[in-house]
Structures are given as C-alpha cells and as structure tokens.
Amino acid sequence: MNDDEYGTSLLRPLDTGVPDGPSRINVAKAMGDGRRARRVRTVSTAAVITAVVATAGALVLRPTTEHVLPALPPDPVKPSSCVAQKLEFGKAASAEVTGGDPTGTYLVGTTNSWAGAESRTVLVWEKGELTASVPTPERMPVMSDINGSGIAVGGTAEMPSLPFFLRDGKVTRLKGDGTAIAINEAGEIAGNYEKRGEAAPQRWASPDAEPEVMPVPAGANGGRTVDIDENGTVVTSFYTTKGEKAFLWHADGSVEPIAGPDRLDRSNVQPIAFHFGWLYAEVRGGQSSAAGRSDSGIQRYHVPTRTWQQVSAATWEAHVPAPTNIGGFQSEIPQVFVGRQILELPDMTETPDDGYTVDFISENAKVVAGNKFSLTASDNNPPDPIIWSCR
C-alpha cells in the first residue's frame, strides 16, 4: 500500500461532512468587521441592518434655489515627485494609518487593526515621526480622523459600536452610542448612531457635547455619516426607495438632498469624502442630457454652487481617501486623485502579494498616507503604514 492509498484509507473515516448542529457563523458580522477592520467600504445597510431608526425632530429640507454663485475653488498643484517612507509604529506586529489633519501635520492610526485583536494602541505621528502611542481602553477603539489640535475620533472595531476620542494623550468615551468618524478644525464631530440594529448619522458639537441624531429624510431608511466639512456640514448617505442617495445635514439643522449630475434623480450618489473644497462621490447610473454620456464614475460636487464635475469615468482608477471606509479599496499600485488628476505614488512593493490603500491626502496635496496590505489577506504579510512626502 503506497502513501496515497494508506492516507486515504486511514483518514477517510474522519470525513463526516459538514459538522452537525447549528452554525454560529454570522455573515452580517463578518461584513461589519471586515468593513471596520480593513477600511473597506461600509457594508450595504440594506443587507445588515434589519431595523430602521425612528428619530424625533422635524426634517427641514433646504430650498434649492439658485443664487449668486461663488467661484469654484482652485485645486492644489499636483506634486511633481513624492518620496515613500514607512511610518514607525514601535514593537507592534502591525499598524495602519487611518487619517490625518487637513495640513498633514498629524496622522493617526492604530496597531493590530484586524478584527478580534487582543490589544490596540492609538498611534499619532507628527510630521511623519511617531510622537504618541496611547493604549486604548478595554474595547480597543480605532481612531479614524484627527484635527490640527491633535484631537482624534473613532469607535470600536467590534460590535456593539461605541464612540471614543483622543485628547491630551488619553482615549475617552464620547457621549452616546455608535461611532465617531470625522472631526473638523472647530472640533465638531460626525458619526453614526448605532444601537440594536438601528443606524443613523449623528454629530457632537464638541468632544464633551451630547450627540444629536439626524432626522431621517422621508422615504429613507438606514443612513450613515460620510464626512464633515469645515462649515460643520455633515454629508450623509441613505438608502431610499429610489436607491442610494446623499444628503447634506447643515450646521443649522436643515437637511438638503444632493441631486445627481443629471438633476433627474435617476442616478445613485454615494458620497465618499470632502477634499479641496469639493465633495467626492461615486455616481452610478443616470445620464446628463447635455453631455449625452453616462454619469457613472467618480464625480465631485461643489456644495455652495451645486456644481458637479466628472473626475474619472472609472471608479477604480485612483483612491479617494476617506475618514470612513467608503471608497476604499486595495490596488496593486498606489494612486490618488489630486483635484481631477491622478497622482502616481512610488510603491514599496516587496512581494507579489502587496497591495495599497490610500487613506489620507492633505489639502495642499503635499502629504499622502496609506497602507501596504496583503492582497490575499495573509497574516504573514501584515499591514505597513506609509507616508508619501510630495513636492
């Protein structure tokens, strides 16, 4: 009897098929953890959220009347060259950079980002140097954004979600439930209310404030925060009876729907993040009658003038960094949009398994940060945080 015959006859009795008893595998949890832990796109709320939050408060729709239009903001100059450098993270097995302040002075990240990690530390880099390594409380939150005052916000990577912030070297709970996603220079924080399967955008006027939950637009169900701008306007995304739609939640409490590029409400608009004075979004479907071509792809929206501009017809051409996981994907080469152009970043590829996310770009496009990942999610190739310094 050769080895093949021996092995087969010996081991075959162990093949009892699928284990009996109920499976405790939770696909919805996998999608949620995958989204949070690996900074990939937020899972479809329609697929995992079974209940819809019912919020108090009146929904005030802002009129969409045209008026004197301010000029469109100029884009930063696309850098001519960039230098890649790994960010230090101490003795941890791995780390990821997750966000930065508008100038790129501060970057924030975490050690051990994977779901189920036994410990995590919040990392803060200043001008590319590791300056703070702060142990997290028991629930091990991951910070997703930081402002120029060094205040970072985030939430727990594992369910149930709880919001946290980092200030003065200490990680502290924000009031309420859910998660914090983004913070602006004024210290206003946007995030999501999440509890018992309910989800809706919420915001805090400051790290010490009580949260305020956004009223749900008519016809919408589960919604989520995408980003907050320097005016305190929160951009959100809701699943509605007409598809995925974007809404602006202004600082004064009014809610404004964002009409797609075709103005006919035929397209789905998935906002990604604010950059360079624009809201970047992925648009699917629709066709602008004037242009006569599909609107699908990456577009950007100027809120004050309600102007749409096409950035790329392809959705995977380059990264649009985001404080949420929305818009994130892994690419074999690191590229990021600067304005409407693509900035090719030098790679740090060491194995064919290496891929990249680009998670931050400063408003002057001089500082870019992201992570090198295993494209096959191999634990033998842990994430490496990278800073690209450009000029």
């Binding site: 405790r24 939770n26 999608m31 479809s44 697929a47 998935q270």
Partner: protein, 175 residues
C-alpha cells in the same frame, strides 16, 4: 471593498453558497465545530475586506481555501483556540455522543501531527485536492507537499502503532 451594492450582493451570494463547503474544510482541519466556525468567521471577514480584489480572481475558491488554511495554521501557531470568537465548548462532544471511538482516536492522533503536515493530509486525503493545488494553497513547492505528506503519514503511523515503511520517504503516485 465593493464599489456598489452589487458587490455586496455578489459577496453574499458567494458566501451563502460556499458556507457548507467552508465549514466542512474548517472542520476537517480543526476537528472541532466551534473552532471551525471561528475559522470560517475569520475567513469571511477577511474575504469581505478583500472582496473587491479577490472577486476578480480567476479562482476565488482557491483564494478562499488559502485564507482558511492560513487562518488554521496561524491560529495553531498562536494557540488561542481556547479563547476563540465563540467561546469554545469542550471538544469531541459530538464524537463521543456518536460513540465513534475510532474516529475520536484518529482525530486525536491527527492533532498530534505538526500543523502544516495536518493541513497537507487533510487537503490531500479528505478534501481531495491535488498536490499542485495543495502546494499553491500552502505557498510551497509540490516536492514539499509530497515530503510533508510522507512525514505526516509516518507521524500518524507512529502515533497509532502502525508499522512505518522501510523507505520513510516513500511517496505515493501523483493524484
């Protein structure tokens, strides 16, 4: 990440369609229902995180098999089975409940074989993967798979008291 809800639908369709097979592979590797569920949970979490990339691969199943085997090997190395995601219940309850002492003994013997050799034996003789595919999954050469097969089987023979062949490096024919 998926770029639209279609990607989520595709992920759900894939995972829902493959869950029985993934549980079977995980169970064959670990021999414990709770550990198997841990392995699958970890794998489909990573799969969702990488779905944008992996879904475009020529052989998604091969990727997923690789992920689940690597998860098995890594968890064996880290040794945190006892604090798994679902809080394991004592092992082999199903085996004993069924009164299958031989199977219990065989499973216990397999667990004493080094993890990588366990994986080779399970993939080749229980999951019926050819040598080339096992090599791809484990990231090694076909020769290494064959030698690990031989070493693993000899280890099993010693544990259960079967005679070890005179040629300890003897290999079976290609599958």
């Amino acid at each position: 990440m998926s770029r639209d809800s279609t990607a989520d639908d595709e992920y759900l369709a894939y995972v829902n369609g493959r869950l029985p097979a993934l549980r079977r592979l995980a169970y064959l590797l670990s021999g414990d229902r709770d550990q198997a569920d841990d392995l699958v949970q970890e794998t489909i979490t990573k799969l969702y995180a990488r779905w944008s990339k992996i879904s475009r691969a020529d052989n998604v199943d091969a990727y997923v098999h690789t992920m689940i085997v690597r998860a098995f090997l890594d968890e064996k190395r880290r040794g945190w089975w006892r604090v798994g995601l679902f809080g394991s219940i004592p092992e082999e309850r199903a085996e004993k409940a069924a009164g299958l002492e031989d199977r219990t003994m065989l499973r216990a013997a397999l667990k004493q074989v080094p993890p990588k050799q366990q994986a080779v034996l399970v993939l080749r003789f229980l999951y019926d993967r050819p040598v080339a595919e096992v090599a791809q999954i484990l990231g090694c050469s076909e020769g290494t798979v064959k030698s690990q097969t031989s070493h693993g089987l000899n280890a099993l023979r010693r544990i259960i008291g079967d005679p070890v062949p005179a040629n300890p490096n003897g290999e079976g024919g290609p599958r």
